[in-house]
């Protein structure tokens, strides 16, 4: 079971980070480079409009049969799908934060002579993070929970192992309750901690 927890965690964390990197790109792209808007919108619509499980099945069984590497690796596909979905979600979160922070910060930085890219990275991103913590907290919790879909394509995560235990011990009660407990344990503390960190930072910066 420990490996199961580790697998679940690694998938969630990896897809979270992947989503963050891509999400930042998407958000900033959409706000500051008008040309990229249609592409970003299509991406978001696709990965937010189709159920995660369907995407996993589609990529693993479907795309995997044409491009076996890397898509036939269940762990990779699960992380990829969740990462893209997360990117679409996080893009939305970051865009909201950017809008909340307002134009002035970028304008001020540009007027001092910094390039668009430098300003985005050094001025906006730190602020965006502080503003996004509630959204990111719930996105992380969502990833932990959605990682459970991965067992359908064979990833040995908590869900998968729970099912194996049930089949082995013929005890339908304990494994599932234990699994539920485990998941709650994984989602709850981090989300709350992120939220608290965010509020503290906000207070400190006088926001």
């Amino acid at each position: 079971m420990v490996e199961g927890v580790l697998t679940t965690l690694s998938i969630s964390v990896l897809s979270f980070l992947l989503g963050m990197a891509a999400g930042l790109l998407l958000a900033f792209g959409r706000v500051y480079e008008k040309g990229s808007r249609p592409l970003v919108e299509v991406f978001e619509k696709f990965f937010r409009g189709i159920p995660e499980l369907v995407l996993m099945l589609m990529f693993y069984w479907g795309v995997g049969s044409y491009i076996p590497f890397p898509f036939k690796n269940a762990v990779f596909t699960a992380t990829f799908v969740l990462g893209m979905r997360s990117a679409a979600n996080q893009s939305q979160i970051f865009r909201g934060a950017i809008r909340g922070i307002g134009e002035e910060q970028m304008v001020a930085a540009r007027s001092l002579g910094f390039s668009k890219l430098w300003s985005a990275v050094h001025v906006m991103i730190p602020q965006v993070f502080v503003f996004s913590t509630p959204g990111l907290g719930s996105e992380y919790a969502l990833l932990i929970k959605d990682s459970a879909y991965a067992f359908v394509i064979g990833v040995p995560d908590i869900m998968f192992i729970t099912n194996s235990i049930r089949k082995a011990t013929l005890d339908p009660v304990t494994p599932y309750l234990a699994a539920a407990f485990l998941y709650i344990l994984l989602t709850f503390p981090v989300a709350t901690w992120l939220d608290a960190w965010g509020s503290r930072r906000k207070k400190k910066l006088g926001l």
Partner: protein
């Protein structure tokens, strides 16, 4: 793609089931969510704690686990069997209620203080104020969150195939089992989900516009 045509009835059945569960979930979740929000605000310490446990369970665990718990654990403990379809409908409703309680309570708290005082000043009783003043405003505020919630629900419905309910995704796996056309089938099914969600989102936008009262908006 023509091979799909003979499977259209199957796909249609799956689609109806998916839509049925999600619609039931969102509306039953709304009713239950309002009750939970009211219970949490006015029910006293014990009820609030119970509600909190309920919400933590349904929001902290994957829906697949919840389906299994309901399918296996509860019947075993109480010694009777439940049809997977009923499990599906119930869990989606209960799950959605946990999320909706959060939005609704948040909106209620936002308008609460001054509107309650104003209501008292004209002689209304607390229940009257909640029903005629606070809820009308809170429910309008949550419309965007509500439409989001429906999309969330719809995207969770594929979990149903894991407990043996024949939803849209289950239809896809059946078709693939018979025709071996993996990618095309999944893409087709994916497009159906996408279309449905897009349509619903558009409809919700229209509803929001119609029900909007200038001055009652979500704070950014």
């Amino acid at each position: 793609m023509d091979y799909i045509i003979e499977y259209l009835p199957l796909i249609f059945d799956g689609f109806i089931l998916t839509v049925g569960v999600s619609l039931f979930g969102i509306f039953a979740g709304l009713a239950l969510g309002i009750i939970l929000a009211l219970g949490d605000s006015y029910g006293g310490r014990i009820i609030s704690t119970l509600i909190r446990v309920y919400v933590e369970f349904f929001r902290g665990s994957p829906i697949i686990i919840q389906l299994f718990v309901f399918l296996y654990v509860i019947p075993t403990l109480l010694n009777f069997r439940i049809d997977p379809l009923i499990v599906g409908f119930s869990i989606f409703a209960l799950n959605s209620a946990a999320y909706q309680k959060g939005y609704i309570k948040g909106a209620m708290d936002a308008v609460f203080e001054d509107q309650m005082t104003a209501g008292l000043s004209i002689g209304m009783s607390k229940p009257q104020i909640i029903f005629y003043v606070i809820l009308p405003q809170a429910l309008r505020i949550v419309i965007p969150a509500w439409s989001n919630e429906y999309c969330s629900l719809t995207k969770s419905t594929p979990a149903l195939l894991v407990i043996g309910v024949r939803d849209l995704t289950a239809a896809a796996t059946t078709i693939i089992g018979q025709t071996y056309r993996v990618l095309e089938t999944y893409v087709f099914i994916a497009m159906i989900y996408l279309a449905w969600i897009t349509v619903i989102t558009k409809i919700m936008d229209i509803v929001y516009e119609k029900k909007r009262i200038p001055g009652i908006e979500i704070s950014a």
